[in-house]
Amino acid sequence: MSRNKWILVLIGVPVLGGAWWAFRPEKLFINQKVSEAAPAALSSEPEALYTGKLEGKIHQTSGRATIYKNKDGKEYLRLSDFTTSNGPDVHVVLVRAEDKALEQEIVKGDLEHVELGTLKGNQGDQNYDLPAAVDLNQYQAVAIYCERFHAIFGVARLEKF
């Protein structure tokens, strides 16, 4: 081997080594998967499945809608940090997130929905049981809905927690 080649090797190997250390290119193909359990204090808690922020439609509405699963498998919706306007015949309903009717403030015709109950209060934290048979893959949004006037007070689009 000629002298030049030796010099090339002597310089090239450390440079390549340094570059490997800095960039660790093999990590692009190697995943490091972990699956830590929730903190101990959470293990006895209901598990959050979906959450979304409420946005006001015809009336100012704010807060968060979260769907939890109890240890016994029962699911419920919890509104937290919640405020909307008070009104007549206001209900909490599950709706299809892709429903075009959600773009309107007053729904023309009927809104396809799953009833969760009459709104317990227009302010404050509150829970609503979900019917056992409800398919949450179909109904990915929560609406605060005035049935009398078909008015959507606010909507929360749910995202995976």
Partner: protein, 166 residues
């Protein structure tokens, strides 16, 4: 006479339009209404446990595709925990989980250059999967509003999750 009938009709119509007009004005808050208050207590008891959810946010990041959710919990003893769920980012060298004192962070943001205050939570345990990180006691969460997956070696933000009140 006609006027009286008209007025009467108008009043009746108005009353009919807002069957319970007072309910529009009354603050039907759980705190004020005794009966509702009881119901609220039930809701609270049903939900109150050992840990409180304080903040949550979704990860975004394009340069190194990052997704999932960051949530801050407070345990009964006041300890703060950050938990990543449904989490995925690219693997890389010397990657850390940090809190930064910004509202959000752009892809590939360099917090050193921009002199952003940051708080180390630990080395990223894995680039996929659920994981927990302790947040030091006394951390001001009103200041640190973003969770970042940060490559210390290249000062690059892999992904960021802006926190929102839960």
């Amino acid at each position: 006479m006609v006027c009286t009938i008209k007025t009467g009709l108008a009043v009746a119509a108005l009353a009919g339009t807002f069957l319970l007009p007072s309910s529009l004005r009354a603050q039907d808050s759980m705190k004020q209404d005794d009966m509702k208050h009881d119901k609220m207590q039930d809701d609270k008891m049903m939900h109150d446990g050992n840990a409180k959810t304080l903040e949550t946010g979704k990860f975004h990041g394009k340069v190194h595709a990052t997704s999932g959710r960051a949530t801050v919990y407070q345990e009964a003893d006041g300890k703060l925990v950050l938990r990543l769920t449904n989490f995925k980012t690219s693997n890389g060298p010397d990657v850390h989980v940090i809190l930064v004192a910004t509202k959000d962070a752009g892809d590939d943001a360099n917090f050193l250059k921009s002199n952003t205050e940051r708080l180390e939570l630990g080395k990223l345990k894995g680039n996929e999967g659920d994981q927990n990180y302790e947040i030091p006691a006394g951390t001001d969460l009103t200041k640190f509003r973003t969770v970042s997956i940060y490559c210390e070696r290249f000062n690059a933000n892999f992904g960021a999750a802006p926190l929102e009140k839960f």
